[in-house]
């Protein structure tokens, strides 16, 4: 199951863990990504809190946690090739994996169809 936040993060759910990245729409708005700052593994994050930073050529933008939980893994490939976020935003360009502490938060997120309507696609 894949869901989207109104801040343009996606989360792919597998059991009680979720993989998080930014949407194709978001990367297209940001332009060339040159650096990502990812959270520390083991860190607890709350839904809506700043979890990562993505730097495009133009500006730095925050990536917010779409759900609460503990960071269990970060994408090591983004350090050497941050432009994976441009070329493969919703698969290889993922940011981090989170162990969900409150799965009911997923109900507040949009499914793909609702997100497409949200961005006017």
């Amino acid at each position: 199951m894949k869901k989207y936040s109104d801040q343009h993060e996606w989360i792919l759910i597998d059991g009680t863990t979720g993989t998080v990245g930014i949407s194709d729409y978001a990367q297209s708005q940001l332009g060339d990504i040159v650096f990502t700052e990812l959270p520390a593994v083991g860190k607890d994050i709350s839904k809506g809190a700043e979890a990562a930073v993505v730097e495009s050529v133009k500006a730095a933008s925050e990536v917010y946690a779409p759900v609460s939980g503990k960071i269990i893994e970060i994408n090591p490939d983004l350090e050497a090739t941050p432009d994976l976020v441009n070329s493969s935003p919703e698969t290889k360009g993922w940011f981090f994996k989170v162990e969900l502490s409150n799965p009911s938060e997923l109900d507040t997120l949009m499914d793909e169809a609702a997100y497409k309507t949200f961005i006017g696609a």
């Binding site: 332009g31 650096f35 930073v53 730097e55 050529v57 133009k58 730095a60």
Partner: protein
């Protein structure tokens, strides 16, 4: 009811949209910030081949009859000695020695041509008319202005205008491209060899279309224009320069003419001449962080003890160098050992870098 301010269109607006540009509001105009391939590829293309920039939002002001002595009351440049066909980088100074704008001054056969920044052109016109009421300033704000920059620009433009092949950097002439009348300058703000031309908007459309037919020419947006000028260590008004900053603080002493330093009769001269002698309180510097986090405008700079000693005025990723670069100001008595920059509440070590970050390729 409140209505949103309307944006003006530049003459080549539709062409940019047809080329897939993302248009953004800038200085009151809808301007192309990037085309579909993105800023990094556009930037590299300019460093390797040739890029076309629409800079029609900038302002050209014609000053007929060569009133050099009058203009020298404001500008600190040697304008009496400026030969026909030559260009000087100059500064519009206020009485406090602050920079109202930076600009290029060309001497044509029938007068001076001032090319000023987009966001300052109406301000400058008022400022100059107020300061020099006896001088005629004629705005040419409806003209198209195009920059054509990069190592292949000269060869390509020479096929449409043979005179371009032999022009040296910072020279200008009235000539024709494709039989259209233009004011052609060998100048630019990317660090590359290149040209800028001013002409009627219809003529610009045909010239630009013809140049874009060449396989080595690509349209370039404002995004890459900014990263190119940052790599070249060039100031941008509103960032490195403002009405409180002096030319000496900004490391632009070279823009003050030799005779002018001796005579001192220009706006703001007391401060400028004092700072030339005694060094100013702060100075512009280049910075290279040791991390990959990018110091952006507004990030504070700190000494080894953590005390704030300055601020970043421009920062970004250098597409050519592959790491972040920045410019900013620090107080002049600061030890440059152990400097850090505060990015999102974390202090990252930075080193002072020589400017430009990427060597310039001007044809002298």
């Amino acid at each position: 009811m409140i209505t949103a301010p309307t944006l003006s269109s530049i003459p080549l607006d539709q062409l940019h949209r047809d080329l897939g540009a993302r248009m953004v509001p800038f200085a009151g105009y809808d301007m192309p910030v990037q085309y579909p391939t993105g800023i990094i590829q556009e930037h590299r293309h300019v460093r390797q081949a040739a890029g076309l920039f629409d800079v029609s939002h900038m302002g050209a002001i014609f000053v007929p009859n060569n009133p050099a002595i009058e203009l020298e009351k404001i500008f600190p440049t040697d304008l009496q000695e400026l030969e026909i066909g030559h260009i000087k980088y100059s500064l519009l100074l206020n009485n406090q020695g602050g920079i109202e704008d930076d600009l290029l001054i060309s001497r044509l056969e029938d007068g001076f041509l001032l090319v000023v920044n987009a966001g300052r052109k109406h301000h400058n016109l008022d400022f100059l008319r107020n300061a020099l009421p006896s001088v005629d300033f004629v705005p040419l704000f409806d003209k198209a202005m195009v920059a054509f920059q990069g190592p292949k620009a000269r060869t390509i433009l020479s096929t449409l205008c043979t005179e371009a092949s032999s022009m040296a950097f910072m020279t200008t002439k009235k000539t024709t491209i494709l039989d259209y009348n233009v004011i052609l300058s060998c100048s630019g703000y990317t660090g590359e060899d290149g040209f800028e031309f001013i002409c009627g908007s219809d003529h610009a459309f045909h010239i630009v279309k013809t140049l874009l037919d060449h396989e080595d020419v690509k349209p370039i947006g404002l995004g890459a224009r900014d990263s190119l000028r940052l790599e070249a260590g060039l100031c941008l008004y509103g960032h490195e320069l403002d009405s409180k900053t002096s030319p000496i603080e900004a490391s632009l002493a070279w823009a003050i003419g030799k005779r002018r330093r001796l005579e001192g009769k220009f706006a703001g001269a007391p401060r400028v001449l004092t700072e030339l002698k005694d060094t100013p309180q702060r100075k512009r510097i280049g910075l290279i962080p040791e991390s990959r986090s990018i110091p952006r405008e507004g990030c504070s700079i700190h000494d080894a003890a953590g005390n704030p000693v300055g601020v970043v005025t421009s920062g970004g990723q250098s597409p050519v160098l592959g790491h972040p670069i920045a410019m900013g100001y620090i107080t002049n008595n600061t030890s440059t050992k152990g400097l850090t920059v505060n990015i999102r509440d974390t202090h990252y070590p930075v080193k002072i870098a020589k400017l430009p970050f990427v060597p310039t390729q001007y044809k002298k």
